[in-house]
Every structure is written in structure tokens, then in C-alpha cells.
Symmetry: C2
Subunit: 393 residues, 2 copies
């Protein structure tokens, strides 16, 4: 039956992470494999209140069809928060509400990418972005990351040769690496992109989950005509609402809106209303602070445990926010083999290779620190250390 499929779908591999998540349902495992926020921090009572109150605020129309752009008051709220938190002037009509920021990635691929078009990505790169773009069959140009973000030298050299449609980045606390782009990297890249027709897609789902360091300027402040931003309520409210947004220049917005309509007409009006009501009725900034403090402690527990239990040859990134830490074993060590050993110790992680284009194995791995408490993190890293010692002996 395979012949009936489109070429675009035949190319995409099944998600390795999905498979790992299924094993993780066995509760004797400690999993650093998923990318889940800590559910203990979900504002359950507040959401219950909002889900009822929206009918007083908006009437029964919260259950009706609605505009593809998204709920106006919610777009205004996103606009206000950009002003207050980042000093950015983003009018509401440049904001499109999406069904999670994942949809923003897909819509950008749909609106911009022809088969064979050049798309620049970080290496390693957010896996679901690789998958979403793959469906539009681009030519990927992975640029290796260093501790300051995308390697600027390699990026400059690449940009002298190609005119990419898209440059995809997660500049704050990247998934999978936990690395943030330095200000120098941002400015240097912006300088190269300025004046070209390339669109830099600034995916920022974790931006507000900062527990160390200071906020750095968004690409939107440096190259507004070339930047599309993605934001998400997944990490500040909860992922189960599937609610995000996209900020685009007007000419691009018109096309993205067509893609949005074709994709799902609009994002659930009821969910949009609930999140709006929740956001205006509660001290959200205090809640975000609580999330940041919790994740900061969990990240610290993971770094401390790695030092305590893992071989000293293992290095790792030092995230200032977000949900992930990236660990690197000595050159030549196999994180796929490590996973086999780790499963026996009942601990899970994601080997690094799926975050690269065309790699089958690597000496790297992604460790999530948000979905286990500090005691579990310590126990899990102890198990991982045991597995590493067996592998590297």
C-alpha cells in the first residue's frame, strides 16, 4: 500500500521520543526522556474557575466557530505582555493564535518552504521541528552549536553561499541542548541576516522559564522585518491546553492565515477563552516565578548529581532556564548502547542522535529535569552513573 503515500510523508521517521515515552509509563522507571513540565505546578483550581466563568464573560459564543486569527482579547494580552516583559511593540494584528507553538512551525513550513529550499537549523535541533519541516522536503543545513549558540563563523560562511528561506532557532534554553545564544551571537547573526530575504524563526517556548542569568535581546528587536516569533502557553500555564502564538510581519501574516484556515479553521475558542480568563484573574507572574524556582532547584540537583555519580569525563551544558540539560560522554562512546544499559537500571533519557540530521548514534544525550522531583533526580542520575560506568569502563 506504500505507493499511495505522498513523497513527503514517506521520508519522515517515526518519533523515537514517542517510543521512549511509552516505556516511561512503567512507574518503576525514572524518566529524563520526556519533555513534560511538572504537573504539580499546573493551576488546576484556577483553570476550573476560568472554565466556568468564561460563559459569564463571553456568553455561549465561546462554543461557536470563531476567527482564524484567534480571540482578540487574548491577542491583546499577548501584545501587552511583550511590551511589559520585553519592551517589544507588537500590535495584536501581527499575532496569530495557534494550536500549540508546534502548529506555528508547521504553518511556517507550509507558507514558505518549497521542495529543495534551503533551511538552516541548529545542530542539535528540536526534533519535532525537523519532523515538521521534513514534510515540506527542504534541504537542511545544520550549523553546529557551541556554548554560545549557533557557531557564528560557520553560519557566516554558509550564508555567503546560500539564501535560505528559513533559519530556525530556539535562542533561549534550547531543546535539546539547554544552551542559550549569547548576545554577541545574536547580534552577529542578525548582522548577517539583515537586508536579506531570509526569515529567522525565533521559537521561544521556554523564554519566561529563566532561573539564572539575565534576559537577552530578542531577534525581533534587531531584525524585525526578518523575524517570526513563536510563543507558547504550554510552559507558563500547561501543555494540555495546546495554545501558542505566532508573530509575523503583515505580508507574511496574510499567507500564514491561509495556511491556518486550511489546517484547522481556528484554535478552540473555548480553550482560548479559558486561558485568557485564567491569565487576567490570577497573579501569573508570581506563578511563573514559582515554576522558575522549582525548575532551577531541579536543574541544580541534576548538575550536582552528575558531578557526584557520573564519570568525570562526562560534561554537560549549564542551562539558565527551560527544561533540558545536554550531557556529553567522551568521543566515541555510544549513547544508544548507554540507553540499553540504562533501561536495565530503570532510568531513561533520549540519546542525542535523533536531534541531528542523518546521525545513527552519538556520544550525547538529552536529560529532562522538570518532570522528576529532586529526590528522583538524584536517584535517577545515580542509576545513569552506574550505566555510564559500565559503558565507559
Amino acid at each position: 500500500m506504500d505507493s499511495i503515500f505522498s513523497d513527503r510523508i514517506a521520508d519522515v521517521p517515526r518519533s523515537f521520543i514517542r517510543e521512549i515515552l511509552k516505556v516511561a509509563l512503567d512507574h518503576s522507571f525514572i524518566s529524563f526522556g520526556g519533555g513534560l513540565p511538572n504537573r504539580a505546578l499546573f493551576p488546576v483550581e484556577e483553570i476550573k474557575v476560568a472554565a466556568v466563568k468564561v460563559f459569564d464573560t463571553f456568553g455561549s459564543d465561546v462554543l461557536q466557530y470563531a476567527d482564524s486569527e484567534g480571540l482578540k482579547v487574548l491577542r491583546e494580552l499577548v501584545s501587552r505582555r511583550y511590551k511589559e516583559k520585553k519592551g517589544l511593540d507588537i500590535p495584536p494584528d501581527r499575532i496569530l493564535i495557534t494550536t500549540g507553538s508546534q502548529q506555528g512551525i508547521d504553518l511556517m513550513g507550509k507558507a514558505l518552504v518549497n521542495e529543495g529550499d534551503d533551511v538552516v537549523i541548529d545542530e542539535p535541533c528540536y526534533l519535532a521541528a525537523i519532523q515538521a519541516f521534513s514534510l515540506y522536503r527542504p534541504k537542511f543545513h545544520p550549523v553546529p552549536m557551541n556554548e554560545n549558540g549557533m557557531n557564528v563563523g560557520i553560519f557566516k560562511k554558509l550564508m555567503s553561499k546560500i539564501k535560505p528561506k528559513l533559519i530556525y532557532t530556539v535562542p533561549n534554553f534550547q531543546n535539546p541542548s539547554g544552551i542559550s545564544y549569547s548576545e554577541a551571537t545574536r547580534r552577529a547573526m542578525a548582522g548577517v541576516i539583515s537586508g536579506t530575504k531570509s526569515i529567522l524563526l525565533e521559537d521561544d517556548p521556554y523564554g519566561e522559564i529563566r532561573f539564572a542569568g539575565k534576559q537577552l535581546p530578542s531577534f525581533m528587536t534587531m531584525i524585525p522585518d526578518n523575524t517570526v516569533m513563536l510563543g507558547s502557553f504550554s510552559k507558563i500555564v500547561s501543555p494540555g491546553v495546546r495554545l501558542g502564538w505566532l508573530v509575523a510581519p503583515p505580508a507574511l501574516m496574510e499567507k500564514v492565515l491561509i495556511a491556518k484556515q486550511a489546517a484547522d479553521l481556528h484554535t478552540s475558542n473555548y480553550i482560548q477563552s479559558i486561558v485568557y480568563q485564567y491569565m487576567i484573574d490570577n497573579d501569573v507572574e508570581k506563578h511563573i516565578k514559582k515554576i522558575c524556582e522549582c525548575y532551577g532547584r531541579q536543574c541544580q540537583a541534576m548538575m550536582d548529581s552528575i558531578r557526584e555519580f557520573c564519570p568525570s569525563s562526562v560534561t554537560h551544558s549549564r542551562p539558565e532556564g527551560g527544561m533540558f540539560l545536554w550531557a556529553t560522554m567522551p568521543e566515541g562512546a555510544s549513547s544508544r548502547q548507554l540507553l540499553d544499559l540504562a533501561v536495565k537500571e530503570k532510568v531513561l533519557f533520549v540519546p542525542g542522535d535523533p536531534f541531528y540530521i542523518g546521525k545513527k548514534d552519538s556520544n550525547t544525550m538529552r536529560l529532562n529535569f522538570t518532570c522528576s522531583n529532586e529526590a528522583e533526580i538524584r536517584m535517577g542520575i545515580e542509576r545513569l552513573g552506574t550505566a555510564m560506568k559500565k559503558l565507559l569502563k
Copy 2:
């Protein structure tokens, strides 16, 4: 800036219906232009209860990331209802929950259609399906409808020449025509498709909203290996939840699931839980009966009013369910010109041409009867009759 766009997005026109919906916000207008269910029938109190109760049933995980396939108990519920209502055996693992059935259309395009592939559609055809498929740049083959559905003679002749990837149909109370495929049409088409590799996409958002006639066999009972079904909670619960489903053969499901993950990871877990809770806690069949009775009266009011107020040369379909009626003026009359006159009378409808491929005008129009009460329908058709008399004088 246009050169940066993908070829697929450059081709798609802005939705005419969207523009009409914006005018419809002026309350002195009576609009038959939208495709909105009657909000007076939304189960507001029941949804409020469900939105709170789900936290007792499922815990805080309703706000967490979830499986791309959709909530298992909801898929089991859809499976049970197929058995009870249509006698169909559809195991839950052949059901994918989608963000509205519109997403099902998009996912099918994504999973199956290469540029230039043949796609057969009804003429006229559901507009948002044309838009969604257009993004994958197929070659459309519109087959004219008669009062029994797709013209079987033309379909047979076409199928002797091409091997389409997809045949898109809305066999029950089609949008825009209100026409249902007869049993003979279904069987004849199934006979032609059986044994080929073509997929018939049986889009059935209105199937349960039947107020006259009797249920006819689904293509799924006749050619299960060639059929993909789409269903929706939009008309039986409410559209604002953006919740639908897709039923596919296993080999196809695997590919559709990849497209779903790339599109939005999964549909809101919270919304899925709410609709599940609503469905099991309430007498949904009684509620659907109430919707059917209401829409039946509204449809009858529209047909009676057309006879009373419109020129006798105007004919129309006689829907047995759904939300739309299709009116036809004498050959050569322009429904675009009619719309200009109708706007002056403060009544709106959708001219027929956007439902065709490449047509700029026609003598046809779509009239929605679900979003106005019987008195409004009578008044609106009286206004429309005035406009028609001016046009056809």
C-alpha cells in the same frame, strides 16, 4: 516580499466566506452566509459541569502533554457509537482524534497528495476542502452533482482514465448543496473504486443531523480498505471545541499519525476530556434529536418562504439534514450581482462560485438555515426575494 512564499501558498485565494462573515457582525443584517450551528442549542450548563468534573475523573494530567492518537476513552466512545448507530465495527486504534474534522482533511492531503496527483471532488465542493487540498497542489477533477449525489456516469468515465489518490465526498447533506448521495450512487461508486488503490474520503460532519428520510450505508461498509472517514463533534456538541476524528486503515493510520504529530503534537487533552465527560454524563441522543427537530423546522421554514417570496423560476435542493440548502436561479443569472442587491436589503448568502474550481460567477447560492430562527428566516428570505425580483425583472 512575495517571492519568499512557497508555491503552494501563493495559489490559494483568501476565503470569500471569511469576508462575508465579517459583514455579518452588523446585527441589522440577516445572514444565511455563515455555516454556524444554532448557539441556542449549545449545552452550556453541561459543558461547565464537565470542565470541572474531568479533574476528578482524570486528575491534573488533563493539562499535560498526551498521545498524538487522542484520549483512549474518547476513541473507545467513538468506536461504540459507530457500532450502535451504524452497525460499524471500528476498533479504537483505527481512530485518530483531530483538531476539528478540518484537520482530518489537511492530514489526508499531507499524507497522500504529491504535486500533480489526481484528486476527484464533488462539484460544487466544500470550500475549505478545496483550500486545504490546494496547498498540496493536486490536479482537481470536479464531478458535477445531481440530486442523487456525484454524477455516476461522469465518475465512471473519469475513473477509466485516471487513478486518483483521493476521492473527496460529503455523502450526507453536503456542504454547500444539502444533497445526499442516494444508495444507488453509493453502491455504483463503491463498485468502481473497489480493487483500486484510490482512497475515498468520506467526510461526514452532519451525518447525525438527519431530520427526514432514512440513514444510508456508509462507504466504509462497502469498501472498507479504500475508505477514510471523518467525523466531528462540532454539530452534535459545539464547533468551538474544535474536536473531530479520522478513521483509517492501519497502514494509512501510521502515516497520518506522523502528519498529526508534525501538525500540533496532539489535540488539547483538556478539551478531549471535557467532551468525553459531557458525552458519558448526558443523554446525548436526546439532545441530538432536539437539534434535528429544530433544524428540520428551520429548513422547512426556508423552503416555505422561498415558495412564498422568491420568483417561481428559482429552484432549490430539499435537504434531509445538515445545515445548508442550495438555490438555483435561471441559467445566466448572476449570484454575485444578486449579492450586491441583497446587501442593500440587509440579507447575506454565499454565491455559488467559490464552491467550484476556477469559476468567477454562477446562478447558484448556498443558504444556511441553522443560524437564524424561523421568524428571521421568513424575513430574510422575503428580503432575498425582493433582491431576486430586482435582478430577474
